[in-house]
């Protein structure tokens, strides 16, 4: 169970199972008849990204996180102008900007790579006894999602060249805890 304290009420939607970026038309090309017959111009061979399985989540920056044992009252303060970032990991040589751009279109237009505080944000919280190591962090409500990248050959055969997971912020910066 995770809790997040929010300065603003988040009404982020939960999206499951959606596949973005690769349109159904292109998908049908993969499984369709001989592309040389039905796709006389072939498929574009540029790298394409897709994001899927997006889920609303509190996104925190590990470098803006404080943690402690039960009974310890944690505190954190971030001055105005402090920037925190989401994380994108995975295989292949990927472009974070391309993944973010795809997530903006397919998941939530508010998604971004990083957020900057415009006021001083601070908070404190006591780690309860049922958590072995609780945390308090600067972050924002955002999304956890899977991503993949690849390209079509000239004969419209899809080849995946990378995949991974992204945690990207979307709403205003807040202080959250475990």
């Amino acid at each position: 169970m995770r809790r997040a304290i929010l300065a603003t009420v988040a009404s982020a939607s939960v999206m499951l199972g959606g596949v973005f970026g690769i349109g159904s038309a292109q998908a049908s090309q993969v499984n369709g008849p001989q592309p040389t017959v039905n796709q006389p111009d072939g498929c574009p061979t540029t790298t394409e990204y897709s994001v899927y399985n997006s889920l609303s989540s509190f996104v925190r920056d590990a470098s803006k996180t404080v943690y402690g044992q039960p009974g310890v009252t944690l505190s954190i303060s971030a001055a105005s102008g402090t920037t925190f970032s989401g994380t994108v990991g995975g295989s292949g040589s990927f472009s974070i900007d391309a993944i973010v751009a795809d997530a903006k279109i397919g998941v939530d237009s508010s998604i971004t790579k990083s957020k900057t505080t415009t006021v001083t944000l601070g908070g404190s919280w006591t780690v309860p006894s049922n958590q072995s190591l609780g945390w308090l962090a600067l972050g924002s409500q955002g999304y956890k999602m899977n991503w993949s990248m690849g390209h079509y050959s000239g004969t419209c055969v899809w080849s995946q060249t990378g995949s991974g997971t992204a945690l990207l912020p979307a709403l205003a910066p807040v202080i959250g805890h475990s």
Binding site: A7, S77, G123
Partner: protein, 149 residues
């Protein structure tokens, strides 16, 4: 299950101050020592919290880099709790370890301009040891202040 709470909830408090109102108090002349190396050239922010309670006593303030030891055994005698606040610039985390366990810790920021002030108040009654090891990567610069009362 994910639970999201708005506003001030349970034991947690949330403070949102107006921009430009960050207080940088002058510290009441604590003893200042260096860690394994001086970090005086690094303009780390002052970790002293702006809402330090009246009557608080500064036990120790230190600048340093990498691992170090902070022994509060004598300094914190008779106190109910000690509060430690710090800033850390570098890679990875800074941990405060007592009796082989992480009491509290936090991430280090890429730059001093982007560093958060991390902190924690530790009840003396539950502390197994007040001889704390600061554990962080050698190049990491840190500045901390320990208060009580």
């Amino acid at each position: 299950m994910i639970r999201r709470l708005a506003g001030i909830v349970g034991t947690a408090s949330l403070v949102v101050a107006a921009a430009g109102c960050t207080s940088h108090q002058a510290n009441p002349s604590p003893a200042t020592r260096s860690g394994t190396a001086s970090a005086s050239a690094v303009p780390l922010p002052n970790p002293s919290p702006s809402n330090l309670p009246v009557g608080s006593k500064v036990l120790i303030q230190r600048d340093g880099s990498g691992n170090a030891t902070v022994d509060l055994t004598t300094l914190a005698a008779g106190q109910n709790s000690v509060s430690i606040h710090w800033v850390c610039v570098g890679k990875g985390n800074l941990n405060l370890v007592a009796a082989g366990k992480v009491v509290l810790g936090g991430g280090c920021a890429d730059s001093s301009a982007d560093a958060t002030i991390d902190g924690g108040t530790v009840p003396i009654a539950t502390a197994k040891s007040l001889s704390w090891q600061i554990q962080t990567a050698a190049p990491n610069k840190w500045r901390l202040i320990v208060t009580a009362g």
